[in-house]
């Protein structure tokens, strides 16, 4: 009895590393390293898409891989690094409360994600159906990253990581969305980062810091 073919094994390895990177993001304090991890996640997505394109012979997946390379590996990390330099937050790191607890929470989340993905995976007829659980886990872990962070920049990285998870989910369940939708989503993500860039400067100008505890004054009882 033959095991799964080499390319499928490679794909599953990619998925596993993707999940590992999500955990790394959860525990990473330095903002620059967070951006690098995000770029690495993008690169893995690109490789996975290429492998899948080669395996299934679908041309639109090649296009989608090219889009991922351009946007998530090159453009977005470059924009974020530029922002970090211009905002002079290169050495910023944040004190995470209770890393061990967060990681444990992350592990529970992964189990939950696989449970959630079970009915979908059972119906999927793509080669990567096992990866759907991983995609859901990446989305949820990114969500936890966003909740536990206090710096605007790290929340944005969490947000983009969530988008990576969604993209990976679409790929493993249905070999990607129709091209027009993928282009639209990519455009939205790009515009979102540009808008945030402007926004960061506004926050910094007003508060001299990108720490979000300044942004907690709008409450019901003011």
């Amino acid at each position: 009895m033959a095991g799964p073919s080499l390319d499928l094994q490679l794909l599953n390895t990619c998925a596993a590393i993707l999940l590992l990177l999500s955990f790394a993001m959860l525990s990473q304090r330095r903002i620059v390293s967070l951006v690098n991890l995000l770029a690495l996640q993008g690169a893995l997505l690109c490789i996975a898409t290429l492998l899948l394109a080669w395996r299934t012979g679908q041309t639109h997946l090649y296009l989608s891989a090219a889009l991922t390379l351009a946007l998530k590996v090159i453009l977005l990390p470059w924009l974020l690094h530029r922002l970090i330099r211009r905002l002079e937050v290169y050495w910023d790191s944040e004190s995470l409360v209770n890393t061990a607890g967060t990681m444990l929470g992350g592990v529970v989340t992964v189990v939950f994600a696989f449970g959630l993905a079970q009915p979908i995976a059972a119906l999927a007829n793509t080669a990567m159906r096992n990866a759907i659980g991983i995609a859901v886990a990446v989305i949820l872990l990114a969500f936890i990253t966003m909740i536990t962070r206090r710096k605007a920049m790290s929340q944005v990285v969490g947000f983009l990581s969530m988008e990576n998870g969604l993209f990976f989910g679409a790929m493993s369940a249905t070999y990607g969305m129709p091209m027009i939708v993928e282009l639209g989503v990519a455009l939205d993500v790009l515009v979102a980062v540009l808008v945030l860039g402007v926004f960061f400067f506004q926050i910094r100008e007003q508060f001299d810091s990108l720490d979000l505890h300044h942004l907690e004054t709008l409450r019901e009882d003011q």
Partner: protein, 485 residues
């Protein structure tokens, strides 16, 4: 042709005003562009009336009775808001709250926002609908932070992050929907996300996947509708942005998001044959109505007050769509229309009132009726209309919803009635003290535009007294389309 103009005018307008929107005559150009969009929407409606449903642009766009009236409503409120914002933004400029560059940003983004909403309403592709909804958020984030005050930055950040995360859930829901549809419609060709194709095969879609998809879609688009407990961004974004933006957010964006939820509900219900989507809509709706009514008591800011009132009314609409059936759907559509007209009229009046008083705090605004009776009466009548007093249109729709609830969901009727009563007392007491009493207001450098306020209120009044037969036919056709119950 009409269709190309409908989307083309605001898109080109966004480009034009994005480059030249800081000039003195830019507010007039903004009005002219919105007028063009409105005329295109009317022409499109006439054509749909004559020729029936339209599918254009390689099936990527379509018009049916459900979205055509929302298109007209969106274009109309877009026009009146542009008329209102002409003196409003000039006064803000004269008061030094913004500079020409920010005015340029404002005008460019205003047109872009209109374009994204019209795309979201008319697209046949559920993926494109998602893209347009996200674009609508992005185009308004920088408008919420237009004044660059600490509070507005916080509101903008909350708006971006909460709606961003919410809408990411909706993307996951869309992916799941595509996944289920692809098994029926096939991966080749792009038809698996086209609504007209999906609705034809909705009974064959896999129920387990669709129920999961609906949870994500409802949470995602529900965040944008402002359904409790996902409503946190809404009062802040409404209160801190410029008032024309509060008017279009409340009057239009919430409707467009609701439209997205209902489109998805139709598909899911067809596949599921269970009451899960209906129950979820009713639950979220009822929770929103109750929470908003309670929070109304704690408001000290006039724009926050009416933002919570929007949450309450979207809750009522969501509850009515949840009940389903011809009458409830009809009432929900009517309620969407009259709420959008009334609420934007109120924001127009509130905007000028706040400019006159130099503050948005309720206790700082006093005696509007002595200095400017038109603003005072506009606000008072608008408030009476939104509180559901006859003979305004809100009364008609709320009456229909309540009587249907008595028949279909008797347990919910007392809760709804109680919440409406609590909201009435909270809003009426506050507005009464603003309109009457000693005056604190000052003169404004530009003549405020109050025509839109009364135009909207007149429409709401006439909808309460008499619904023209073609409009009723539309609502009925749309209600049939939505089905359920």
């Amino acid at each position: 042709m009409e269709f190309a103009l409908l989307l083309g005018i605001p898109l080109c307008g966004a480009l034009l005003l994005g480059l030249t929107g800081g000039r003195r005559e830019a507010p007039d150009v903004n009005v002219a562009l919105s007028l063009g969009t409105f005329i295109a929407a009317c022409a499109l409606t006439v054509r749909v009336l004559q020729e029936g449903n339209l599918v254009v642009g390689r099936e990527q766009f379509f018009i049916d009775p459900f979205n055509v009236f929302l298109v007209v409503l969106t274009a109309f409120v877009g026009l009146t808001t542009a008329v209102f914002s002409r003196p409003y933004m000039r006064i803000e400029l004269a008061h030094g709250r913004i500079g020409p560059r920010r005015l340029q940003l404002y005008h460019g983004m205003y047109q872009l926002f209109m374009a994204t909403m019209l795309v979201a309403l008319t697209t046949n592709n559920l993926g494109l609908m998602w893209v347009a909804m996200e674009a609508a958020t992005l185009s308004t984030v920088l408008l919420v932070t237009l004044y660059r005050t600490p509070a507005s930055l916080e509101a903008g950040w909350k708006y971006f992050i909460l709606c961003g995360v919410g809408i990411a859930q909706a993307l996951f829901g869309t992916i799941l929907l595509y996944f289920a549809a692809e098994r029926v419609l096939g991966a080749e060709g792009v038809s698996a996300l086209l609504w007209t194709h999906l609705v034809a095969v909705k009974t064959q879609l896999e129920p387990r996947v669709l129920s999961l998809a609906f949870v994500f879609l409802l949470v995602g688009y529900g965040t944008k509708v402002g359904l409790a407990p996902l409503h946190n961004w809404l009062p802040d974004a409404h209160a801190e942005g410029p008032t024309p933006i509060s008017a279009v957010l409340s009057g239009l964006l919430l409707n467009v998001a609701m439209y997205a939820v209902v489109r998805c509900k139709v598909l899911v219900e067809g596949s599921l044959h269970s009451s899960l989507p209906s129950n979820m809509l009713m639950g979220f709706g009822l929770l929103s109505v109750v929470l908003a009514a309670l929070f109304l008591w704690r408001q000290k800011d006039i724009k926050r007050l009416f933002a919570y009132s929007s949450i309450e009314h979207m809750g009522i609409v969501s509850f009515a769509f949840g009940m389903g059936g011809a009458v409830a759907n009809f009432a929900a559509l009517l309620h969407m229309t009259v709420h959008s007209l009334t609420k934007s009229a109120i924001f127009f009046a509130v905007g000028h009132a706040a400019q006159k008083a130099g503050s948005q705090r309720i206790e700082d605004i006093r005696g509007l009726i002595t200095l400017n009776p038109t603003i005072g009466w506009g606000l008072m009548l608008g408030t009476l209309a939104i509180l559901g007093l006859p003979p305004f249109g809100v009364f008609a729709s709320e009456f229909l919803i309540l009587t249907t609830a008595m028949r279909q969901q008797p347990w919910a009727t007392p809760i709804l009635l109680l919440a409406l009563g609590v909201a009435f007392a909270a809003i009426f007491g506050r507005v009464q003290s603003m309109v009457f009493g000693e005056t604190t207001a000052r003169r404004l450098p530009h003549q405020p535009a109050l025509l839109p306020v009364f135009a909207h209120l007149l429409l709401v009044l006439s909808l309460g007294l008499y619904i023209p037969p073609y409009l009723a036919d539309w609502y009925r056709a749309a209600a049939r389309l939505i089905g359920g119950g």
